[in-house]
Symmetry: C2
Subunit: 264 residues, 2 copies
């Protein structure tokens, strides 16, 4: 549903099989709702995957951070609002707000996307593609307030891994991959949250989750999860693929993504 | 949406993040749509989980089999029809048909449910609960045709495990459990299909999937998957929990569920 030239609003319903043992929606599934909203919003403006594939381009999610005051619960009717905050040469910033059906805000999200050329797999210049048409969909700063395009959460942070500890290694299978044969970006969130013990979710909620995607992994790749505790409530996680420990202390693995989980 | 006193119809949309690398919906997610339809159908007739919890009862899925001629693809609009085929003292048979939005049938499913007492965890007599009200919702045989309550697939088969081979053992985590703290019944489907290699899904489709749930497993339980090849296209799988091999050849594990996967 279009609110304006800039903003769309999409309803979602929290199905009983989409909630965790505390009755709140799984963060990875929440992420799906955001990506769907993003996909529809682009599609309606001629920048969707379908249109882009014809011109041999596609969107790639580079970063995502989600901050929730409250997680929607089983049987709740909610909505996602999304808009483009800004466009740089190689990236766009797309924001989201998540609301109850009655409009009460539940949380916010920020994301960064690159557009790549399907052949070279390299990022494209967004200002030159379609004569910079995408700039028409950036919410003008002076009307953000009136448009309700507000995302009052901190931007994406930086990761500094000093001596993270390897905590789990998993193989990847059929259910992990998306239509492109890549490990599904939301599946990483699932595997990362699976690193935490039951008590964590019994006693606390996730306040903020950040993830930065570095390179693709494929079905059959082996993923290793390295954790670093920043404080009692904050953990940084680095995911590397196909790690092979070597005598010089290196591991030969390639960084797939980095994430931060902040419990409240 | 109610078609009649007996039958409901629920729309669903195949989201881009719900499809596998061949572009077809994941079977476990398809299963979710069936369970949602079942839940809503019961709820509308006063037999939903909410109403039952007040009377200290709940539905438990005992068996499910799904047979698909064609799997819905990304961006397709489809619908599930569901109805109660029959009621026995301790079980109900609930059927489903899955259609494109234009009515073309894509496949069918059968399920068996027990109602248990939340305190004793034992099955209840469905004929005595609410004075046997549930019998009012069974589609009369003579009008099944007129009502479109047709499910032309074989019933649930029997499993005969002779010498299945242990092929994988996994730990279970946060993302595996549902609101009751049990391993989510659809997550078993995901883990079972993950036993098959990529080529299988490249070359074949799943024609029929059957699963029989025997006992609950919980977050932290270790699941072992035993496979037995019935023919080139047919594999039986037994899932046992917390297996500990013992010198006498036994494994001390308890059977959690049994499944059959038939590729076409």
């Amino acid at each position: 549903m279009s609110d304006s030239k800039y903003i769309d609003r999409y309803p979602f319903y929290v199905e009983p099989f989409h909630v965790d043992f505390t009755g709140r929606i799984f963060l990875g599934l929440r992420g799906n709702h955001l990506l769907n909203a993003a996909g529809n919003h682009s599609q309606r403006r001629g920048w969707g995957i379908g249109a882009l594939n014809e011109s041999r381009h596609t969107w790639v999610l580079s970063r995502l951070c989600i901050e929730m005051n409250e997680m929607p619960q089983q049987y709740e009717h909610c909505q996602v609002k999304t808009w483009v905050e800004s466009v740089m040469k190689l990236f766009t910033n797309r924001n989201f707000s998540i609301h109850r059906a009655d409009g009460t805000p539940l949380g916010y999200a920020r994301s960064i996307w690159a557009m790549i050329d399907l052949e070279t797999r390299r990022p494209c210049d967004l200002f030159s593609l379609y004569d910079g048409d995408i700039l028409n969909y950036v919410v003008p700063e002076e009307s953000a307030d009136r448009e309700g395009a507000l995302c009052p959460i901190e931007g994406h942070g930086r990761f500094r891994f000093r001596d993270p500890k390897l905590v789990r290694t998993i193989d990847t299978y059929y259910s992990d991959v998306d239509i492109n044969g890549h490990i599904n970006s939301m599946k990483y969130i699932e595997h990362i949250l699976d690193l935490f013990p039951r008590q964590r979710f019994e006693q606390q909620h996730i306040r903020r989750f950040e993830i930065a995607y570095k390179t693709e992994a494929y079905m059959g790749d082996r993923l290793s999860f390295y954790c670093q505790s920043v404080s009692a409530d904050e953990t940084d996680i680095e995911v590397r693929k196909n790690v092979t420990p070597s005598p010089d202390g290196g591991d030969g693995g390639e960084v797939v993504c980095q994430a931060k989980v902040l419990f409240r």
